[in-house]
């Protein structure tokens, strides 16, 4: 008891009390329902939508949108799998969609409720992750390529090999992602980025360990700020991010390596945890409305799979094979396949690459 009193007097207590009071005043300024009877919970990548579109959807359908963001397919999967939140719409990438379909984690979408699906280009239909187009509606697509700063790199960039060039020691940003980093290394070595061959993977590991001293860091989203600020010469990035960074810093340029790369599609799906699949279908259809898709495309600058939106883009962008490569430009490239069984092997490789200390 006496101890308690001393604690109260000690100022720590008063400080904490002050803290609690301040928090109590500042916190509840958020959260108000707005009188909607229905809600749809959407789970999307960070900064991957024009937020005004969400408000317009609410106004048009009277359905409240709860919007949450994730940063990797893996963390999204883990969170949906863990339950907790009943997400109605999620927007993962191809290989993760395949995995979720295989595990029975997705609801079949009634395409009669998605009339706007007809706007999606044919090349983004019937892909291996969803061959019958039953579970997913493409949102955006892109590639992985090399972003470089023209003031620091003067040779032509057209190969992954430049990431191993000692001239650029400590000027290279790699992706902190097992699948992507091992995948592009496999590509460089002339293998498939979906390899499950022990020798090929061993070769990729050796190559990545060789690269360790040249990499400035293994990064996630912070690579955008880094490259815009000129903190490095070369980075492995997704095509849409590349375009955004190039708009911020005109010294930056982007290249697709000749060895081929990863082409991906992010698509809208309905997890089986959804409590309101009807609202989810309305939401998905709304995202495919030409005007809405155009606004999203304009905001996030990734490549659109929407025929009309593409047609309306400025000539120089839609003909730019860095951001709108045709199918012929991508013959060497591959989609990721679900490699669930190989995950421990990839994990081991990645740990060994990163646990090599000087």
């Amino acid at each position: 008891m006496k101890k308690n009193r001393a604690f109260q007097k000690s100022g720590v207590f008063r400080a904490l009390l002050l803290a609690a009071l301040l928090a109590a005043v500042l916190l509840p300024l958020s959260a108000c329902g707005g009188g909607y009877t229905e809600t749809v919970i959407v789970y999307n990548w960070g900064d991957y939508i024009d937020q005004s579109v969400l408000r317009d959807f609410e106004r048009e359908y009277g359905i409240h949108v709860i919007y949450e963001e994730f940063d990797t397919n893996e963390s999204m999967y883990a969170k949906i799998k863990a339950g907790g939140t009943a997400y109605d719409v999620a927007i993962p990438s191809d290989y993760m969609i395949k995995r979720m379909i295989d595990e029975g984690g997705l609801v079949k979408i009634d395409m009669d409720n998605i009339p706007n699906y007809l706007h999606i280009e044919d090349r983004f239909k019937n892909l291996s992750y969803d061959p019958q187009n039953e579970y997913s509606v493409p949102f955006f697509w892109g590639t992985v390529g090399i972003l470089f700063n023209k003031t620091m790199v003067d040779e032509p960039v057209d190969s992954w090999e430049i990431l191993w060039d000692e001239k650029y020691a400590k000027e290279i940003f790699m992706l902190d992602s097992q699948r992507d980093s091992i995948g592009i290394t496999l590509k460089l070595l002339g293998y498939s980025l979906n390899s499950d061959d022990a020798d090929e993977l061993e070769a990729a590991k050796a190559k990545l360990i060789e690269q360790r001293p040249l990499a400035q860091a293994y990064v996630g989203d912070e690579v955008k700020d880094k490259m815009i600020a000129g903190e490095g010469a070369i980075a492995v990035v997704w095509s849409g991010d590349a375009l955004n960074m190039m708009l911020e810093n005109e010294d930056l340029d982007f290249a697709l390596p000749r060895e081929g790369t990863n082409i991906w599609t992010d698509a809208m799906v309905i997890p089986t945890t959804s409590r309101n699949p009807e609202a989810a279908e309305k939401f998905i259809n709304y995202m495919c409305e030409t005007e809405i898709a155009a606004r999203n495309c304009d905001y996030i600058n990734y490549s659109t799979p929407h025929r009309e939106v593409l047609a309306a883009l400025p000539e120089e962008l839609k003909e730019d094979i860095r951001f709108y490569p045709g199918e012929n430009d991508l013959v060497m490239s591959e989609y990721f396949e679900d490699l669930s069984a190989m995950l421990p092997v990839y994990d081991r490789i990645w740990t060994e690459v990163k646990a090599v200390y000087e």
Binding site: S10, D225, P344, D347, Y357
Partner: protein, 273 residues
């Protein structure tokens, strides 16, 4: 009787938030799925002792120990200053120490990223003053800096709270008896503050051992620590068994360290721990 009733909520709390999660971790760590059925297996625990993972663990231990020491040598004097001078607005100073802890941990760590980078704020100021650039981002030094910055309040507060409670008449007595300030500190103040100091050490060492955000952001992902390894198992590889085994091993390690520290403390009085 009434006492028992009052215990109820706490017992329920402990059950739901301490015992149950612990049980799940132990369960995953000690079982493996073989042919669709879960059975007991020491495989995950055995894997923890493979050299590559021990190397990661050793590195985490070293970085956490260095950060804890630095926090102690920075935090102790800070707590001393807070108590010794008669500040009129002492609680405001304490708030200032606590304040950073309310800001989002991630945002604070991101801020260091901007401060430390090659063309960052620190280097801009240095180059303006014609001083040589300061490049520690993506090194151990940056990781340690991040830990010290984030965990320092956990060192200052418990030390401060015990120093505050020291009976001032003891210090006056020492002074009356002719002790120099140094002797007073060594023989009167310091021994009485030991409990708080040990709490501080434990409270800094534990999060420093398990952090994964700091090494990823400030270490540039190239300094895999045990926290990163565990995160990777749960979020990327879905090897919950191995992730749990790593967590369990780490927990045991921290428990032993904590127990040893607490034992050496003796009286078990005071502190936040």
């Amino acid at each position: 009787m009434r006492k028992k009733l009052l215990n109820g909520p706490y017992l329920a709390w402990m059950l739901v938030f301490a015992i149950l999660p612990l049980f799940i971790v132990v369960w995953y760590a000690l079982t493996a799925e073989i042919g669709g059925e879960r059975s007991f297996s020491a495989g995950h625990l055995a894997r923890v002792f493979e050299p590559i993972y021990l190397r990661v663990l050793w590195r985490s231990l070293k970085l956490a120990a260095v950060s804890t020491l630095l926090c102690f040598f920075l935090g102790y004097p800070a707590a001393l200053i807070l108590t010794s001078r008669q500040f009129r607005r002492r609680s405001i100073l304490v708030v200032l120490i606590v304040l950073p802890m309310w800001m989002n941990f991630l945002a604070r760590t991101y801020a260091w990223l901007t401060l430390l980078e090659k063309n960052g704020v620190v280097n801009s100021v240095l180059s303006f003053l014609h001083l040589p650039a300061f490049n520690i981002l993506y090194t151990d030094a940056a990781v340690i800096l991040g830990m010290v910055y984030n965990f320092l309040p956990f060192m200052i507060l418990p030390i401060y709270s015990v120093l505050y409670k020291i009976d001032h008449s003891l210090i006056e007595a020492a002074e009356d008896l002719g002790a120099t300030p140094l002797v007073t500190f060594r023989r009167v103040i310091f021994p009485q503050s030991l409990a708080g100091a040990l709490s501080g050490v434990v409270m800094v060492f534990m999060p420093a051992m398990t952090t994964f955000v700091i090494p990823r952001l400030l270490g540039g992902g190239q300094y895999t620590l045990i926290g990163n390894l565990i995160e990777q198992q749960f979020l990327t590889t879905y090897d919950w068994g191995f992730g749990s085994a790593l967590s369990l091993f780490l927990m045991a390690l921290l428990l032993v360290t904590g127990a040893l520290l607490m034992r050496s403390r003796g009286d078990g009085e005071g502190g936040l721990w």
